[in-house]
Every structure is written in C-alpha cells, then in structure tokens.
C-alpha cells in the first residue's frame, strides 16, 4: 500500500507535552502553514517501497532547495485521502530526479474543511526527521548513481561544487 509523503516542520506539530498552553489533543495553528495550498492544491508524493523510495525522494527534494538542511516529513496511508474525499491528481513534480517526479501528486479542490481534516490525519501520523549530514550523504549518493540531474539542482553553485567533489572522492 503506498504511503503519502508530505514535507512538514516537526516543531509545528508538537503536542501539549512540548507546548504547555496547548489543550490535550489540540494542534498549534502554525501547523497549518505546512499545509498551505496554491490554487487550492497541495503537493504530496506517493512512496511504494518505503526505505529506498524515501531515500531517493529526500535526496531529490533536498537538491531542489537553496541549501542542504534537515528535512522533516509526515507519512500516512493513502486511503486516508479517499476517506476524506480528497481528489488525488497525477501531476509531474519538478525535482531534478525524473523518477521521483512521477511519484508526485496534487491533492486538488482542497477546501478549508479538508485541510483541517488532513491536519488531523497528519497529527496522528508518523513524523520523521533526516538531519542535514544524512541529507547531504543521500544527495551525494543520488548524484553518484545518476538519479539526480546535477544541471537541474537548485542548490547554490558552491554547494553543488562541494557535492560533486565528494562524489568524485567516493
């Protein structure tokens, strides 16, 4: 069963043990900023083979940023989307990895009510963090195995040169 992957910032999803003013079972409003839509669409990725696919996806997303840093994400069952009546549309992603791009989906025709329901799903889902050093290692691996097109990376020139040096020395 494929899992739905959504980039988040874990600290915005902390529960009451970390945020004393928060009522039990409530969510911080800042969590909604991790679900901001464009044209009433929300970008997610579907991952089938959890471990290898996740590594590849993380590398592709990391290469699409200004600089390498940690990456937080939530993973939840795909059937949660159909349970919420959310329309899932296949639309190619814009990462430097053409395979990862085929895993991209847009959650379409999203309403405020659906976003709030989705936030509830994410609240109870698995949330993970990959630290900067590991992210860097995954990007180097993806570059070395030609998963990523270095010409399409959005990272700064200095970072790309540094990564390419690491690929050569490995």
């Amino acid at each position: 069963v494929p899992l739905v992957f959504r980039k988040i910032e874990k600290a915005k999803w902390y529960k009451t043990s970390a945020v004393p003013w928060l009522a039990p079972d409530a969510l911080q409003a800042d969590a909604l900023s991790d679900l901001s839509t464009k044209g009433n669409k929300l970008s997610v990725y579907l991952v089938e083979d959890e471990l290898e696919a996740l590594k590849r996806l993380i590398a592709a997303l990391a290469a699409n940023r200004d600089f390498i840093t940690k990456l937080d994400y939530a993973l939840f069952q795909e059937d949660s989307l159909s349970n919420l009546g959310i329309r899932v549309v296949e639309e190619e992603g814009d990462t430097p990895d053409h395979v990862v791009n085929t895993w991209h989906r847009n959650l379409s025709e999203i309403t405020v009510e659906k976003i709030v329901s989705l936030a509830e799903v994410i609240k109870n889902s698995r949330k993970e963090r990959v630290l900067e050093k590991r992210v860097r290692a995954l990007v180097i691996h993806a570059l070395a195995s030609n998963q990523i097109d270095s010409g399409r990376m959005k990272l700064g020139a200095e970072t790309i040169a540094d990564l390419e040096r690491s690929v050569c020395s490995n």
Partner: protein, 184 residues
C-alpha cells in the same frame, strides 16, 4: 588638542607605561562601541516585522541579514543574539530561525561562541527554540556538545523532542568516533 595628528604627537611623548594604558583605554572603548553596534543591529532585526514564512532549505531575508551582522560584528553579535534569544518575550519563530542559521554558518572566528549559544538554548522555555538549538548543533556537528545534549535529553519533557535530540546525539557520537579514529 583637536586633531588626530596632535593626539598622536602627544601620545608619542608619553612614557611607555602610559602608552600601554592608553592602548588599553582605546581597546576597551573600541570593544564597547562594537558591542553597542552589535546590540542595536541584532535588536533591529528582531524588532522588525517580517512577513515571510521560514521554510527549511529556503534562504530567508532574515537569515541573510543576520549572517551579514555576524560576519561584520563577529563574537559581539553572537553575545547580543544570546541575550535576545533568551529573553522571555522573544518571537519564537525568529529565535528558532536564528539558531538554525548560526548552526549552518561556516565562520571559524565565531564557532565557539555559536556552539555555546546553541548549547544554552537547548534549555530554553520554548520547545520550538530548543528544537532549533538541537538542529543547529547537528549542523555545527561539533562533538564537544555531547555532554550538553545528553543533559538536555534527560531534562526534556516532550517525548517527541527527546527523540529528535537523541538523533542529534547519535550523529555527534558518530562524528566523535570518526574524528578519534582519524587521529589514531
């Protein structure tokens, strides 16, 4: 004496002990000026309205400006940042972004100061700021932070944050063992 040339000429004829005292006096004043400038630059950054959302991997305008201040003012800027970040009414979002930024910076001159600011912030009142401090320490990747991270894990009330800190600890321990084996 009104001109620099006159002051220099007067300083020139001073006995050596008094010249030394003059140098110490000037150095103290210069340091005080630098601290004042850094304090006002950092305070200005935190008092401004920022209508940007901070997102992992995207360079914010706030981050760019903070880095400029640190590169310009050096350790004084880190000292000023430490007092702003630990203030009870600090904007948590800005404080968290600042801690992530100083962890990522590659500036050997301020490395130790940044390390101790991040270590101290692990024990702050806001979970979001403690989290950002641990992320900053992971970016800095300096194993000297290990004892502090262990203490923070033991003190941490949030199980979610504790798990994230354990991940940071694991990374720092790996770095430590790599460094130790490369020394041997």
């Amino acid at each position: 004496m009104n001109t620099l040339a006159e002051i220099e000429a007067a300083a020139d004829v001073l006995p050596p002990e008094q010249k030394q005292e003059l140098i110490l006096f000037l150095a103290t004043r210069l340091r005080a000026d630098a601290v004042r400038t850094a304090q006002s630059d950092v305070a200005e950054l935190f008092n401004r309205e920022w209508d940007e959302l901070f997102e992992d991997g995207l360079e914010s305008e706030f981050a760019r400006k903070l880095k400029c201040v640190i590169e310009r003012e050096g350790e004084s800027a880190i000292d000023s940042l430490a007092s702003v970040v630990s203030a009870p009414d600090v904007n948590e979002g800005l404080a968290a972004e600042a801690l992530r930024v100083i962890g990522r910076m590659n500036d050997p001159l301020t490395h130790d100061k940044r390390l101790s600011l991040l270590e101290g912030a692990l024990f702050g009142p806001a979970a979001r700021v403690r989290d950002a401090a641990s992320v900053g320490l992971a970016s800095l990747d300096d194993p000297r932070a290990i004892p502090c991270v262990i203490r923070a894990i033991n003190d941490e009330s949030s199980s979610e944050l504790r798990e994230d800190m354990k991940q940071v600890l694991q990374q720092l321990e790996q770095t430590d063992s790599c460094l130790s084996s490369s020394v041997k």
